[in-house]
């Protein structure tokens, strides 16, 4: 591996990400899978870094999952997203950051389509006006939330309480970075570092002191693949993709997987349980799985947030082995404590995959 070669490619795909004043669009699936991730990101940028991030309760799903599953046509997705642009316009913002990689890909696809086919944009403008009497400007800058984490990686690392170092060995934490397909594979120039060797998560992990693991199936799909999973008969195909990735990364003994996509995060996490039940194999050390975190969750851990406050108990694979390696202090008794102090029921343990 020639690291200088990667740096040359990364230098070709750098984005000028604005520093402040963002309209924030949440992810519909992420709020259900890992609801703490978005709140944590907003807390970091607003309260730790003092940035202006605005959100509105009137924001809805972008329709991306329905669009990529062929349930709704493109014009419907365009009109939904045009409404989001209208909400941004009404709020007086010009920079938009979306929390979901599929949203980011779809927003990018729509903006590029409108550049090529302005008559289609005019039709959507009319659709939106007919539907809800709203008008919109397109964003001057569109970013994904992982771009924001990348942008602020050094200010965040200055506040690091637990850098990515294995406190037992003194060596860097070994990080597998997994980039959602819709981040840069459609438009390489819109991703930090491009599509083949993305830097957006590598740069973040490096800034925190971690070591990136490059393995043969790094580029491979996480296994979600929309219709691979959403069509029930295809789920074996979904699982086999995930299996391929874990078999490929296993020899490198990663300590953690970080992703920038809600779907990837979910499937790389949950399918470890299914693989353990179906194949009788666990890919992490000592019978545990490999923890899977979003970029925001990783940043929060590094900055000293309590793992249960940021919702890491919502992950299938136990995060405690990673917390122990990083030397993070946590109270095991609080893992399943509800917001009002009420003890929540403890999930049933899998057959093979060890949990705390």
């Amino acid at each position: 591996m020639i690291y200088e070669g990667k740096k040359r490619i990364w230098s070709d795909y750098q984005k000028e990400i604005p520093d402040d004043h963002w309209f924030f669009a949440r992810s519909c699936i992420r709020q259900n899978f890992n609801p703490g991730a978005e709140n944590t990101m907003l807390d970091i940028v607003r309260n730790k870094l003092g940035k202006d991030f605005y959100e509105t309760k009137y924001h809805t799903t972008c329709g991306g999952i329905a669009y990529h599953s062929d349930v709704i046509p493109q014009e419907t997705a365009m009109t939904i997203i045009a409404r989001h642009f209208a909400l941004m316009t009404e709020a007086g913002y010009k920079n938009m950051v979306v929390s979901c990689v599929t949203s980011f890909g779809l927003y990018s696809e729509i903006l590029e389509t409108w550049k090529e086919f302005p008559e289609l944009k005019a039709k959507i403008q009319q659709n939106l006006w007919d539907a809800c009497r709203k008008e919109f400007d397109t964003p001057e800058y569109l970013a994904h939330s992982s771009d924001i984490m990348y942008k602020y990686r050094y200010p965040m690392s200055e506040q690091a309480k637990y850098p990515l170092t294995n406190v037992h060995t003194g060596k860097p934490i070994r990080v597998v970075e997994h980039i959602g397909c819709h981040y840069a594979k459609m438009f390489p120039s819109k991703g930090v570092g491009g599509a083949e060797y993305p830097y957006v998560l590598s740069g973040l992990a490096e800034a925190f002191g971690g070591e990136i693991v490059d393995y043969p199936e790094r580029r491979h799909c996480c296994g979600f693949g929309f219709r691979q999973y959403l069509v029930k008969a295809n789920r074996g195909y979904s699982l086999s993709n995930t299996y391929k990735k874990f078999e490929s990364m296993e020899p490198y003994k990663p300590d953690v997987i970080i992703t920038n996509c809600p779907g990837c995060n979910y499937f790389l996490d949950r399918w470890q349980y299914v693989l353990s039940e179906t194949n009788g194999k666990v890919y992490g050390e000592n019978g545990y799985g490999i923890p899977v975190l979003s970029s925001e969750e990783l940043a929060a851990l590094v900055m000293g947030y309590d793992p249960w406050t940021i919702g890491l108990q919502m992950h299938q694979v136990a995060v405690e082995p990673l917390l122990d390696k990083m030397g993070i202090k946590y109270d095991p008794a609080k893992k399943y404590e509800g917001a009002n102090g009420k003890q929540l029921p403890k999930p049933q343990a899998p057959t093979l995959l060890k949990c705390y």
Partner: protein, 335 residues
């Protein structure tokens, strides 16, 4: 005899041949080469298809008889200005030539293989190009080539590739890949050699024979399908993903060495000379002849001529023949 000054820009085989012919016709030929030596890409090649002739033998033959040519290496053209019917060509060495005709034989550049990021050139140690392999054959050393047991060739790297911005076929890569596959098999007889191709364009005399010999004598495995991506494994070997379009199946193979057949693209100086001479260049970046059939060496500007691969991918014999041919065209123009 009407002795005139002709400046030939580009000292590859085509430019050399044109300069020698113009000198024989009684003109003063100024041959300008930016590199430290004449010969262009030929000077960097080891053997030539289809007969395996040594490149330096061919180059020596071409460069003999340059006594009557005023040639300059390591010399850039800094400007060209029209003065009446002539062109004032100013060189980087401070020299100024009032030329009655200017011939562009600027040739081609090899497609920068690192642009096909998915193949990992410049990222993975064991990914090399056709030019690197020729250098290895000529010099005998390359730290990336250590007794490889499984070797792959990827055809059409940066050719016939809309995404790379090059729709044209580079014409010589198929034959070069087959030649190099046989050569490396000779070098490492116990190796397994794969060629991943879209089409095999073995159009010239004896090219097809070379291809058949590659299969029968050398046992080269030809796979019709493009490589989709290359990754590096923990032991430094390469994992190749490709599609075998004949069997309709995806293919994964581990290799010790991957050779990318970088195609021909317009010379990196084409735009510079187009600007100096106010020449229009089409979308593909190559110079455009006035008429493909009847005036292949004539540009849209009076007194400016083209020959060789600056008007599109050419084989070496074609480039040499065009050099000779355009000399006659220029001679007729100068009468």
């Amino acid at each position: 005899m009407n002795n005139r000054n002709v400046v030939i820009i580009g000292g590859g085989p085509c430019g050399i041949e044109a300069a020698k012919t113009l000198a024989k016709l009684g003109h003063t030929a100024f041959l300008i080469e930016k590199e430290p030596h004449l010969g262009g890409h030929l000077a960097k090649w080891d053997r030539l298809f289809p007969y395996g002739q040594k490149a330096d033998e061919v180059l020596n033959k071409i460069t003999s008889g340059l006594e009557n040519v005023k040639w300059f290496v390591d010399t850039q053209v800094t400007s060209i200005n029209r003065i009446d019917k002539s062109y004032n060509v100013i060189l980087g060495n401070g020299m100024s030539i009032l030329a009655d005709a200017v011939l562009l034989t600027t040739g081609f550049s090899l497609f920068p293989a690192e642009k096909k990021e998915e193949y990992g050139y410049g990222i993975y140690d064991r990914v090399i190009t056709n030019a690197d392999l020729e250098h290895y054959f000529a010099e005998g050393n390359d730290h990336r080539i250590q007794y490889p047991k499984k070797i792959g060739f990827v055809h059409c790297v940066g050719s016939r590739d809309e995404k790379a911005g090059n729709r044209q076929c580079s014409k010589v890569c198929c034959a070069t890949a087959v030649k190099q596959a046989c050569e490396i098999k000779e070098k490492f007889p116990n190796s397994t050699v794969y060629c991943f191709y879209m089409d095999l364009r073995m159009f010239g005399r004896n090219y097809e024979d070379m291809y058949l010999e590659a299969q029968k004598k050398y046992g080269i495995i030809f796979v019709r399908g493009r490589v989709s991506e290359v990754s590096e494994k923990q032991d430094g070997t390469l994992l190749i993903k490709a599609e075998d379009t004949l069997s309709g199946k995806p293919l994964r193979v581990s290799l010790d060495l991957l050779v990318l057949m970088a195609g021909m693209v317009q010379n990196s100086d084409t735009a510079k000379f187009a600007q100096m001479l106010s020449l229009n260049i089409p979308e593909d970046g190559f110079f455009q002849s006035k008429n493909y059939f009847t005036a292949p060496g004539v540009s849209s500007k009076k007194g400016v001529f083209y020959a060789g691969a600056c008007t599109g991918p050419k084989t070496l014999p074609e480039a040499i023949a065009e050099g000779k041919s355009v000399a006659l065209t220029i001679d007729e123009y100068l009468l």
